[in-house]
């Protein structure tokens, strides 16, 4: 067992999930939520110990390992259940448990009265466990298990309201795309294991540190791992599942599909930076696809009619920023943006959840409006989130986005920089569009407005706490830089990891565009009170609303051909194969076909089989000896 207590961080949420699953139906519903939240809080507190202890270790060896036990001991080296904590995973652990705790508390209010409340909290606790396992993994095998379990938890939670066909379909889609990613990681892992007979990070990174780029092996493994990251973090073209994943309860969207799980890809890419050094092509690809995802998703978010869809596409866009950062070597900036994004995006989702809760499940922007008067706290919190995500100083998003864009410019990636700057302006526009449509303007649906009310304290308090974090989160940058430095100095490949100052005109341009975007939204939706549907009947708007037809493209390019192959297989190959198989079964059955009644002939056949076998065995020895 780990002497440094890493394992103890994992157990509370797992225990919570198991206990709720076993006993959750017998106790009052409120207790279940409180119990689940408590387990996450315990995990957070337990995690503080090792993370703080980490700071006291010498800079050269700032990592802890703990081997739980050997899992399978093979012909080669054994695969162990190994946990690993270094400053990088420490950031993730604290965000997962910290933000996770707030979202658990919020869920107590949000899920109050739902018949599946116990099930919900069991899933949620299980998710926290799986996510912790993913980031605390000490080798790629354990990481893959966490990776798959996280996907499973997400599948359950997206399909939580399984009576809705759309929820089930969305869950299935997410699962399929994530499995694609899992397969990528599995293949990459197998390649690495076959070559180096090791899977643990220190062992692999040690090897990478002494290797030189140019070997296609590195490109392949890095690419395969990137495919896994791509699926989990919903990078283009594996991005569609995330928008559909909004079928789950809103706190789930906040926890899994914004703050934690979808950033697992960022974690993996930052974690394997020694490998990315050896595969510069893949590294460039990460940045390019990240930038494209950022602007592509932002354009889709422009005209979305569903408040959660807007947030979903904004998440995609912000994930694109993080990958952009990783791709240009701005690793700390990428992690920094993950951190601030976890705050402000969880905030936005929870605030949106309060609105949806108040409106009895309504998510259509076209039926909201004027809610600021009824829900001042929520409106204020949402405004803070919008300012943060738009990158308006001094809110947190400004600092992290600036760090990524500034470094992209410094490193000479001008195209990526330009795309990022443009996206910043677009972000401000669509976020404030959602804000004004929701909280300002005329009341668009009297019935809904009449019943709306401010959320209970158990929901507003976590939202306000997150709002505070979203305001001050930008101040963590310097500290984070120093905290992560030992991780990035351990192996070559992260020479440009530290935060950099961008040129002043870059900052000015970004903030300026964001302000313009916000003002345009204010004029259109706050002053002129254009309806939400405006612009969606013309060509770019229509396409943007339809997410550029990517769903259809996938259906056309991948799903339909696969289906065709499948049905061809079913009609041509499968009967042949199955018939072959069945024929064997039938031959055996035919031996006794007419012997269904209880008659000796049936048994005689079986006896004959024994005799034939015996004869064959004896004949075998007769021939052999």
């Amino acid at each position: 067992m780990g002497m440094n207590g890493l394992a103890t961080v994992l157990w509370p949420p797992l225990f919570g999930a198991a206990s709720i699953a076993a006993l959750g139906h017998g106790v009052p519903r409120r207790w279940v939520g409180a119990w689940a939240s408590l387990m996450v809080l315990v995990s957070f507190v337990l995690a503080l110990g090792p993370v703080l202890a980490l700071g006291h270790l010498p800079v050269q060896a700032r990592a802890m390992e703990s081997t739980l036990f050997a899992w399978v001991t093979g012909f080669g080296p054994a695969v162990h259940w190994r946990l690993f904590l270094d400053p990088l995973s420490g950031v993730w652990v604290l965000v997962i448990t910290g933000v996770g705790f707030l979202i658990h508390v919020y869920s107590i209010g949000y899920m109050d009265g739902d018949p599946g409340e116990a099930r919900y909290f069991a899933y949620l606790n299980f998710f926290i466990f799986a996510m912790l396992l993913l980031v605390l993994a000490g080798n790629l095998a354990v990481l893959l298990i966490g990776w798959a379990l996280v996907g499973l938890a997400s599948y359950f939670l997206i399909g939580f309201w399984y009576e809705r066909p759309s929820a089930v379909a969305a869950a299935k889609k997410a699962f399929v795309m994530n499995t694609l990613g899992d397969a990528g990681i599995l293949l990459g892992l197998v390649l690495l294991y076959l070559r180096y007979h090791a899977l643990s990070y220190p062992a692999l990174f040690q090897v990478f540190a002494h290797a030189q780029p140019g070997d296609p092996f590195f490109d392949w493994t890095a690419f395969l791992l990137y495919v896994g990251a791509m699926a989990k973090s919903a990078q283009f073209p594996l991005h569609m599942w995330l928008a559909d994943a909004m079928e789950g309860p809103t706190p789930v969207s906040a926890l899994i599909h914004a703050a934690t799980m979808v950033t697992a890809g960022v974690y993996l890419m930052v974690r394997i930076y020694p490998l990315l050094r050896l595969a510069p092509g893949v590294e460039a690809l990460v940045g390019d696809i990240g930038a494209f995802t950022a602007i592509f998703a932002a354009s889709i978010a422009f005209y979305q009619q569903d408040i959660k869809k807007v947030l979903a596409y904004s998440t995609l866009s912000q994930l694109g920023y993080m990958f952009l950062g990783v791709g240009v070597g701005a690793l700390t900036a990428g992690v920094f943006h993950f951190l601030t994004h976890a705050f402000f995006k969880a905030l936005l989702f929870l605030a949106a959840g309060s609105v949806i809760h108040a409106l009895g499940g309504e998510q259509d922007l076209g039926r909201m409006g004027g809610l600021g008067r009824k829900m001042p706290w929520t409106a204020g919190a949402f405004a803070v989130g919008c300012l943060a995500i738009a990158g308006i100083p001094p809110f947190s998003g400004y600092f992290s986005k600036e760090a990524i864009l500034g470094q992209a410019f410094n490193e000479g990636h001008w195209v990526l920089w330009g795309v990022g700057v443009l996206t910043a302006g677009m972000t401000a526009f669509y976020m404030f569009r959602a804000f004004f449509l929701t909280f300002f303007g005329p009341v668009r649906d009297e019935g809904l407005y009449h019943h709306a009310h401010e959320a209970p304290a158990v929901m507003t308090v976590p939202v306000l706490l997150l709002a505070v974090l979203a305001v001050i989160g930008g101040g963590f940058g310097r500290g984070l830089d120093a905290w992560l430095a030992p991780t990035f100095h351990a192996y070559p490949g992260a020479g440009t990891a530290a935060l950099q100052e961008g040129p002043l005109f870059s900052t000015g341009l970004t903030v300026g565009l964001a302000v313009v975007g916000g003002l345009v939204a204010y004029v259109l939706y706050g002053v002129r009170q254009v309806p939400a549907k405006a612009g969606t009947d013309r060509i770019p708007g229509r396409w943007m609303l339809a997410a550029w037809g990517m769903d259809q493209a996938w259906t056309w390019a991948v799903v339909s051909p696969l289906k065709a192959v499948g049905s061809a297989f079913e009609s041509a190959v499968e009967p042949a194969v199955l018939d072959g198989v069945r024929a064997i079964g039938r031959t055996v059955a035919a031996w006794a076909e007419d012997l269904r009644p209880l008659e000796s002939g049936y048994v005689r056949r079986y006896g004959l089989s024994i005799l034939v076998g015996l004869g064959a065995i004896l004949a075998y020895y007769l021939i052999r000896v």
């Binding site: 399978v72 259940w81 199955l578 069945r582 079986y606 089989s609 015996l614 020895y621």
Partner: protein, 470 residues
Amino acid sequence: MVYLLPKILVAGGALMSLLATLGLPRWRNGAFWVALVLLLAAGVDAAVLWQAEGNLSLLVAGSMIADPFSSLVDLLVVAAGVSSLLLSWNGDRYGPEFPALVAVAVLGMMMVAEAGNLIWLFLGVEVLSLPLYVLAASERTALGGEAGLKYLLLGAFSSGILLFGMALLYGATGTTLFVRYPNLPLGTGFGLYGVGFLLVLVGLGFKVAMVPFHMWVPDVYEGSPTPVTNLMAFGTKVGAAAAILRLVAYGFYPQAQWWSPLIGYLAVLTMIVGNLLALPQRDLKRLLAYSGIGHAGFLLVGIAAHNFLGSMAAVFYLVPYGLAAIGAFALIRLVEGNGEGVQLDDLEGLAYAHPWAAALFIVVMLSLAGIPLTAGFIGKFYLLQAALVANQTGLAVGLVVGTLVGLAAYLRPLQRMFARSRSERVQAFRWSWAGGAVLVVAACGTLFLGVYPSPMMHIVDQSANFFWLR
């Protein structure tokens, strides 16, 4: 004497349970509880003995081998017996003598595994088989009667072969104590005693469901009541596999060069035929019967490898297989309710109507298929390793092919569970504490072993430590 205690407890359980049936109908479940308590006591005692025994000792002039392996097998067959009893809970339809007969069969399984003498081995085989013949027909249905009679006839036939082989062995060596054979000047070649050994192997292969001596298995499993099938699938297989292991490990290890390839061929044949025939089955019990045949093949891989890893892997594999089989039969018992047998179509909609039962069932089926994080994966992994270390590539390939074929077979019931409509059986589904407990324990054990196999490996390491392999 201390060593005999588990057997005495089981035999006492059988007798007292028989007496308790006389108190009917005032104390309806008396026979059940008496047998259950004494079986559990025997299990506890076997566990204590496992810890106490360091070394091998021979009892009754070498007829009984008292070592950790015997105690481990005792534990496993007690688990099989207890699970069968639990699955028969509230089953008046199986007749009042059901618990007593189960206890006698368990006693036979214990005897088989500890035999160091051919006579003891034969006695064990008979003590184990006779109650099963009756149990197979304990429900008065056409299929049940057919199963009982088929099992009886073919069992008698295989016993004849077994006995003939033993006679040849006695003739060739002059002793029935097979533990002494390695000390006799038999040489390493193939002789009269070789023929005898083959006949004994066929007789035991019949019990363990080795191809081509397996044809009784599907019919008998299908026709027998579910708790009885459970006992046959787990208990009989454990006992017979242990007997084969004991025989080759103690009596014939100098001749490994000629029996090992044979068992290897049979293992590959068994794995592939069993898993292949599992594919087209529509009845869940028949499917599990063929799966049991396939798993007998996996067990034989470990024996054929005839190295330390192999015997360890084979003994280890008994546990994942047993847990998964128990779990699957528990689900059948829950779904079948007052009826008999479960078709794959009867599972439709189970995943929505009873998600917990479905989830537990998924775990045990995935373990049978050998998916990582379940015990089945670890077991197959060790077997594969043993085959590769023994340089038997053919075995390894057969194991992988068999697993792949099996995978398709095990996914079919799971697929049916997720169908939209609900079958009548699923609508009538009712949890019973006993069946539910068996299912939960089996599934949890499967997951635990899949995640943390080290303690079990340690136990197996201590138990399968046959001296000839050191």
